[in-house]
Symmetry: C2
Subunit: 146 residues, 2 copies
């Protein structure tokens, strides 16, 4: 079951400049940074609030590490802006399987590693009214009951 808006993924040309914009304009601070070589991104997570399912909502700022990454290609085509949205779940495997059974294309056969050790998958935007949609289970233990 999807129980929160986990994050909004925002593609940018320069991570440091964009982090600085969010800090000076809104006061949002960096909670975590990492490079995900598989996804081809350097990213910063800005924690905005905690959520009623025991998780949190973040902005995820994404700079491509190479032009031929998914985010790099998207940025070349669209320019800076919202790249995807992500819903949090205690069980990404079960939710991905259930959604696949409804005829929505799930982009990975098995979930992969996302920000902060989470397990993630993506749904095809053409099956989701134009919205690239991610499902996330945090690395921190989440109870399947909530």
């Amino acid at each position: 079951m999807l129980t929160r808006i986990d994050h909004i993924g925002i593609a940018c040309h320069d991570l440091d400049t964009t982090v600085e914009f969010y800090r000076t304009t809104y006061g949002f601070e960096v909670f975590h940074t990492e490079v995900n070589e598989e996804q081809g991104v350097r990213e910063a997570m800005l924690k905005i609030n905690e959520t009623s399912d025991g998780g949190a909502s973040y902005l995820q700022l994404l700079e491509p590490t190479r032009e031929d990454s998914a985010v790099g290609k998207w940025l070349a085509k669209n320019g800076e802006g919202v790249h995807h949205i992500a819903f949090g779940t205690a069980d990404v495997d079960a939710d991905a399987a259930g959604i696949r059974d409804k005829g929505v294309r799930v982009l990975y056969e098995e979930p992969r590693i996302g920000s902060m050790g989470s397990r993630i998958t993506f749904l095809h935007p053409k099956d989701c009214h134009g919205v690239l949609t991610e499902l996330v289970t945090s690395a921190a233990v989440e109870s399947p009951e909530h």
Copy 2:
């Protein structure tokens, strides 16, 4: 102070079809619907989670009521997808004034009425790394202390 992701605004061609997609695919139910003639949209709010500042995070599905509305023009250019993101604050007037002082263009002179009687304003996407950004104060009384 911006204390939550209030909503993600998603533009769609047909509100009923899109609501049905979110219901059958994810189990998200409609919390509220309304027509905002000033904004030129028919909209549905789907409540996803509550937030640590006493508010909540929603998906806001938006169908233009006329082609020459902001959302109608955006949809004709971009197709369905994420139209804007919104941060919640207890005091949209103070935050908008502070952000304007930092050189970011605030689109309304004074906040206008948004979903569920909230007071809203928007920041120019070209000043926000490509992200059309809304600031929202809910109609329900919010304490300025949290």
